[in-house]
């Protein structure tokens, strides 16, 4: 099922954005079924 969460896949880009927006990162390791 698709969700409205706007996931990133680039780890470095996520850190850059987290620094810029002063937000923590939520990281999910998922196994597609």
């Amino acid at each position: 099922m698709s969700t409205a969460i706007t996931w990133l896949e680039d780890w470095q880009a996520a850190q850059d954005r987290a620094k810029a927006e002063d937000k923590p990162i939520f990281l999910d390791f998922f196994k597609p079924t």
């Binding site: 969460i5 850190q15 002063d22 923590p24 998922f30």
Partner: protein, 151 residues
């Protein structure tokens, strides 16, 4: 998580507004090895430098997942000595999700954060009293036992 928790509107709101959400496959390297992922779901709250401050393995429904997000947010700020920001996250968790698995730990960290901002050890004793009264079977009630001896 994808079938039940992530479609929940409350979950989507808090993740999109308060976190930078990242998905990685369990075999993605080097990040999977860096985080010692051996089973999924493996969920982490990290600081902007990629350091993990909260780790949860296993499924959580929205009513348990959101509190763990708030706990992770608070612990991230706490570890960076942003105690007022940490307190805001812990207070919100305790107020909005008092029956959640994460609530007792939030009370523990709230007490410690209050102590760190005030240097008043009375906050530690109050934390133990709350845990003993409201969550007597929690491990966090045990972890605060020494604080009962404080003046």
């Amino acid at each position: 998580m994808g079938a039940v928790t992530y479609p929940d509107a409350r979950v989507q709101t808090i993740i999109n507004q308060e976190f930078i959400p990242v998905k990685q496959g369990p075999d993605a390297e080097p990040i999977s090895s860096d985080f010692w992922v051996r089973w999924t779901p493996a969920l982490f709250v990290c600081d902007p430098y990629g350091n993990p401050h909260q780790r949860v393995v296993g499924f959580l429904p929205p009513e348990q997942f959101i509190p763990y997000l708030l706990l992770g947010k608070g612990k991230t700020y706490f570890d960076h000595r942003r105690f007022n920001d940490a307190l805001a996250a812990f207070e919100r968790l305790i107020s909005d999700w008092p029956q959640s698995f994460a609530a007792p730990q939030a009370i523990y960290h709230r007490a410690v954060s209050r102590y760190r901002t005030s240097e008043d050890p009375h906050h530690l004793k109050i934390g133990h009293q709350i845990l003993k009264a409201e969550y007597p079977d929690s491990e966090w009630a045990v972890r605060t036992l020494p604080y009962r001896l404080l003046d």
